[in-house]
């Protein structure tokens, strides 16, 4: 992985309250450029809230969410231009084809891409060419996810934010997806993902942050040439689960 010293994403003593509930408490972490960082946690741990705060959908009660050196709430448009977001259920427009969907979303960002560039992105995510011109209503979840990743690639954003990206995918699709993430990171892209998939996270992440009840309870890093120890992460993850 080609990590640099520049900080791409930072949570600085971040606390978020929603309806008077403390969802995230004094959370601090840093993600370097070119790094794959997985924020791991069970249901209700505060993963998605953290992600949405980085996207600018929630305002921190205290602390800062910083992306590419900008405080998110202060420079929302600039920050969002730097990021490509992949939601959990990549619900694109079912009445449009994959190509039309990609063209539509790119146009929203005022990005022009030729058909051949779109084809290359589809090839890159291994979306069968027979599906490119088909309406997405009959797509499987994996195919929808691939289309959304193609869209993220075409945006050429330096930072990718992924929300439970492998949820609902079959094992083959998960492997393909993880491989794609590694390839993406190798190009220098920063990837921040929230997930509860311990094994998938360990397979691809450079670092894992373990979130429990809104607090960061541990961080795990891969060493040179080897993945993060799955058993160690699993044990720490399971500690927080009800018996």
């Amino acid at each position: 992985m080609k990590t640099q010293n520049k900080i791409a994403i930072e949570a600085d003593s971040l606390s978020i309250k929603i309806n008077n509930d403390d969802i995230v408490k004094d959370l601090s972490f840093q993600v370097k450029s070119g790094e794959i960082y997985a924020l791991l946690g069970g249901n209700g741990a505060g993963k998605s809230t953290t992600l949405k705060t980085l996207l600018g959908f929630h305002t921190p009660t205290s602390g800062k969410a910083i992306v590419d050196g900008h405080i998110v709430s202060d420079h929302l448009a600039a920050v969002r231009n730097k990021m490509a977001y992949l939601p959990e259920a990549a619900a694109l427009y079912p009445h449009l084809t994959a190509r039309e969907n990609v063209q539509y979303f790119l146009s929203l960002a005022d990005i022009e891409k030729s058909d051949s560039e779109i084809n290359t992105a589809f090839d890159c995510v291994a979306l069968q060419s027979s599906a490119w011109e088909r309406q997405m209503q009959n797509y499987s979840k994996g195919m929808r996810q691939k289309t959304a990743i193609a869209l993220a690639l075409l945006r050429e954003a330096p930072i990718f934010l992924l929300d439970e990206p492998t949820s609902g995918l079959d094992p083959v699709a998960i492997d393909e997806f993880n491989q794609l993430l590694c390839e993406l990171a190798s190009t220098g892209a920063t990837i921040f993902m929230v997930t509860h998939d311990v094994y998938g996270a360990c397979q691809v992440a450079d670092r894992i942050g373990l979130l429990r009840n809104g607090e960061l309870v541990g961080e795990f890093s891969s060493s040179e040439g080897s993945q993060i120890n799955t058993e160690e992460v699993h044990a720490a993850f399971a500690q927080g689960l009800p018996a």
């Binding site: 969002r80 959990e88 259920a89 694109l92 539509y104 929203l108 945006r155």
Partner: protein, 436 residues
Amino acid sequence: MKYFLNQISREWKFLLAQKYIVVLLLCTLLTSGFAVFSGLQEVKQQNTTIERLIEADRLDREQAQTKHANVGSLAYYSFHLTYEPPSDLAFAALGERDIYPWKHRIKMLALEGQIYESDAQNAELAKSGKIDFVFVVSALSPLLIILLFHDLFAHERSNGRFDLLVTAARSTFSLWGIRSLVRFLSVLLCLMIPFWIGAWYSGVGVGISLVVTLLCVVYLAFWMALSLWLGNKGSNAPSIASRLIGFWVVVAFIIPILGDLAIKHQVESPKGGDIVLTLREAVNDAWDIPKRVTMRAFVATHPQWKEHVAVERMFEWKWYYAFQQVGDQKAGRLSRAYQDAAQTKYDYAGYVSWLSPPLLLQRKLTRLANTDAIAAFNYEKGIRQFHSELRAFYYPWLFTSEKFTKEALVDLPVFQPVSQRALKKSSQLIENKVTK
């Protein structure tokens, strides 16, 4: 500019790809087209009726003038057509023309009965009923706007696309702004294209067409803003839709109906039938009371004829027309009360309309089209004025011994519709200014 056009083109293609919206817009276009077409047909029918009546009226009067040499008989048997033709814009706002009469054939007899004979009801508040352009815009288009805009955000939220869209868009305007604009313009065009065609066909001036368009834009923008505001606050599309539809029902129907009831309750008005009855009683009684009583009452309002009111025979036309005049005088108080009440109801309805945007739009457009109650009141004033002119023409022949000749008929007043009189007046003013 290129960026803006690209954004518009993107959302336009996106809109066309959504079949239900296309169907909805087509329905709007058809409904508006139907409303304009039926309005044009109605106006054409009214104009044809007027043309036919003018010709029949001319023939009928010519016949009476040939047949009757005596001035009293001639006045008695001569009908005079009064009418108010629909304005060029009437096709879009038929207004009160199906409630208030716009044509009468009147005689030299007592007038009040002739005016109120056809009075069936006196609704001052416009309610839904006619499918004219104003009805489509004021009552139906809010529903369409609600359908298109209530779930602009909620639909994307419920389908899990909202966050992706928001993060993908360059700015809020490039997404929601352009999407709203395209939808708004589509609705506006579907509603207005038939109107513009109808306006061109009817010869409505560009200025008036622009005013109508502006009023419709403001009105539709109000509903769009309301739908977007509520839509942005909630996440449940059915709940947003039901709140908006509830509001629409209240302002489009409940407020006008309750307002109408309250005004009727508040403003007392004699019925047209009461006026007719009072007049008939006065006229019938006149046959039984001494003639000098009638003539005294007549002279009280027409002192210029006091030297000529002696009635020596059993029947004299001057006595006959004098008791018609006195009948009008007796029914006058009720008639004025009726007119005042109608005007007050109209004014009160104006206050109510500030609580009901659909009613307000209807009032503005029917005023522009000259098809509202004010137009009807002006027409009635026109009839009264014409009837006074008729009396002023006939009375010298009836009350003096001067011999009536048919040559005098060149001065017989001819009814001129109020709108044409106004036109004549303004062209005279222009002419005077030019001459000066």
